[in-house]
Symmetry: C2
Subunit: 160 residues, 2 copies
C-alpha cells in the first residue's frame, strides 16, 4: 500500500500538488471569503433591523451604487446616505418589527464577490397606520478593500 | 539626457518594471476584459432586440440566476430558458420595435465582472393593442469561462 501510494505520488506529482494548492486556495482564499461574507451579511441584516443608517453606510464602498425600483440610480456613498436619511425622515415614528435576510449563491473571484438574498420586513408605521409587511430579493456585489474588509459595491432590489 | 534616463532606470528598476507590468496588466487583463464586456453587451442588446431566445441563452452561464420583479428567482440556465420561451409564447405576434441598452460602472476582478445598465424598449404588441414602452435598469454579474468567453451569471431588473 505504502509503495503504491508513493508510486502514485511519484507518477502524478502535478496532480498531487495542484490538488494541494487547490485545497490551500479554498481554505485561505474563497473559504475565508465565504466566512467573511457571512459576517458581512449579519452586519447588514442587523443594521437594517435597527434602522441604523450609520451602521449601514459603514458597509458601503465610497463608489457604491444602489439601484432601487422607480428611483434614479444612486451613484456614490454620499448619494446613498442622503437617500437613506430622507427615507428615515419620512418614516419618523416607524419601527422595524422584523427583518430577515437570507443570502445564497455566493461567488468569489479575488477581491470581488456576488450573492443574492431574500428579505422579509415588517415595519410598524406608528400613528395608527397599518404595518408594512414586504418581501423582496436583492442582488449584491461586494468588494474587499485594502483593509481586508468587504464593502457593498452594487445593490439592486425588487419585489419577491 | 540619455545618461539621465539610464541612471533613472538603473536607480529605479523596480519602479520601471512594476510600471511596465502594470501597463501590461491593463492592456492584457482588465483592459481586454472591458473590451470583451462591451462586445458581450452588444451581443446581449442585439439578441434582445431580435427577440432571439437562442442567442440570448447562449450568453448565459449554466449556473446563471435571473431575478425579475414579482417573479420567483430563476436558478439555472434551463429555468431561465423555459421562462423566456413562455414569455415569447405569451407575446406571439409582438415585435420589438426598439431596444437600447447602455451600461456603465464596469468592475473587473479576475474572472468576474459587474456592470449596471439602463434599457429602453418599445414593443409593438400587434392585434390592435397599444405598444409597450418601458424603461428599466439592470445589475449584471458576468463570469469568464475556461473558453475565455464572458457569460451572464446574475441578472436583476427593476423599473427606471
Amino acid at each position: 500500500m505504502v509503495r503504491t501510494s508513493f508510486l502514485a505520488l511519484w507518477l502524478f506529482p502535478t496532480i498531487f500538488f495542484s490538488d494541494a494548492s487547490l485545497l490551500g486556495q479554498t481554505a485561505m482564499g474563497a473559504g475565508n471569503a465565504r466566512g467573511e461574507i457571512e459576517e458581512f451579511n449579519r452586519r447588514l441584516e442587523e443594521a437594517t433591523r435597527r434602522m441604523d443608517n450609520g451602521a449601514t453606510m459603514a458597509l458601503w464602498a465610497e463608489d457604491g451604487i444602489s439601484l432601487l425600483p422607480s428611483t434614479k440610480p444612486m451613484v456614490g456613498k454620499a448619494a446613498i446616505a442622503a437617500f437613506m436619511d430622507r427615507v428615515m425622515g419620512d418614516l419618523a415614528g416607524a419601527k422595524m418589527e422584523r427583518f430577515e435576510m437570507e443570502c445564497s449563491g455566493v461567488e468569489v473571484a479575488g477581491e470581488m464577490a456576488s450573492e443574492w438574498c431574500r428579505e422579509h420586513q415588517v415595519v410598524q408605521m406608528g400613528g395608527g397606520k397599518a404595518p408594512f409587511d414586504g418581501r423582496g430579493k436583492m442582488l449584491l456585489v461586494l468588494r474587499r478593500g485594502g483593509d481586508g474588509k468587504w464593502k457593498l459595491l452594487r445593490e439592486m432590489w425588487n419585489a419577491e
